[in-house]
Symmetry: C2
């Protein structure tokens, strides 16, 4: 059974906390394991009891952001199945991306913060499996099946358009480009409206919402397990 390092050791938790603070403050570049150990009040060697490599620790950092995002979404979906509607899920997704620094940094390819890690194969894998495009691939068919998206549009075209919209919102919300001049107070509402405009009015029959939420939760569980496996201690 996969188990996270911090669940069985207080020092591992302190190391993670210290690493998180330091990376957020100064970035990966030039951050040494000695510094992390110092701030966590452990010796350098201790770090290697929990992670086999410096990079493992760092990748684990934003793996944990994804994990937290998954858990939050699962909680919301359980409490209120209505969250599974596209007009509610996509704004949440954008907000979640903004809220989690590492996901945000990965999304915007923030080299200052993440250093070479951005283009590292392992983090690329993370994004490929957990990124917005992968999500749409899974979610859109479910939405179409349960009358939460119009079906008078070919799947590929619809997915392409929705992907563009989502990436566009992510870019304008996350990145600080000079290009994106227009901004707005309540992005969530705009995203919601735009998604509805694209996918058409949501017309769920009885049970459709719950079924969609269940499918979403199942998918989240699968991803969570895979994610956990990839950042857990390899015994």
């Amino acid at each position: 059974m996969a188990v996270l390092a911090e669940q069985e050791s207080g020092s591992a938790a302190r190391i993670l906390g210290a690493a998180r603070e330091l990376v957020l403050k100064r970035g990966v570049k030039g951050l040494t394991v000695a510094e992390i150990a110092d701030r966590a009040h452990v010796a350098k060697g201790t770090i290697y009891l929990h992670w086999s490599t410096r990079e493992d620790l760092l990748v684990g950092l934003f793996g944990r952001d994804f994990l937290a995002e998954h858990d939050e979404l699962a909680e919301l979906l359980t409490a209120d199945p209505d969250v599974a509607r596209p007009s509610r899920l996509l704004p949440l997704l954008v907000q979640a991306t903004i809220d989690h620094p590492f996901i945000r940094a990965l999304q915007s390819e923030d080299d200052d913060l993440l250093g070479v890690l951005t283009q590292h194969p392992r983090s690329a894998k993370l994004l490929e499996n957990l990124g917005p495009a992968a999500l749409l691939r899974v979610a859109l068919p479910v939405w179409r099946r349960h009358h939460l998206a119009r079906t008078d549009w070919s799947f590929d075209d619809q997915a392409y358009a929705l992907q563009a919209l989502l990436l566009g919102f992510l870019n304008t919300a996350v990145e600080r480009r000079a290009l994106a001049i227009i901004s707005v107070d309540e992005p969530a509402q705009v995203i919601s409206a735009a998604v509805t405009a694209l996918l058409g009015p949501e017309q769920p029959g009885p049970g459709d919402i719950q079924a969609t939420a269940d499918a979403a939760l199942a998918e989240l569980a699968v991803r969570r397990a895979a994610l956990l496996e990839s950042i857990a201690k390899s015994d």
Copy 2:
């Protein structure tokens, strides 16, 4: 009266051509004026008869791409005012961005191709005034006024959503990110459909289309003049 260097000198045209080829092939980094002069079959000094600085020449290079784009759009609009419809203009805009290497590179902040020029204040200025956001600021009010976009949506929200959609399409079409997995055969049609979904059905009254096209042409003329001024010979 602003006049482009290549309009009054054959050697200037050859220099531009040589520079263009070389930049597209190998990027700005490490490209010397001696090389450009060699390929253009002129002496180094000749280049400085037309441009006061190496950087002037390079900025002029993608200034000319914008100029070409403007001229193409103006021609299309003149031949067929219908092109001024949002559902036709935005796909064209995306396509134009793809077709012009320097605009594309500027959009995707391609450091390999453009080197430090990407984040240079002068090219930033170019993008700020000619980029997609600036365009929407001008175009959307016209569309709304002439029944080519729904007005039951606040201007800011609508602009924000449309901007996100446009940037999203630009990103997926231009950039080669691993994120954007979903792709499609005929992006133009998808863009068109997505724009229509966002802005609502176009319901122009008599004269609306022509008025929109005229406004677009007027705006293009203003931009073209400013652009020309900024890359023309400073006499």
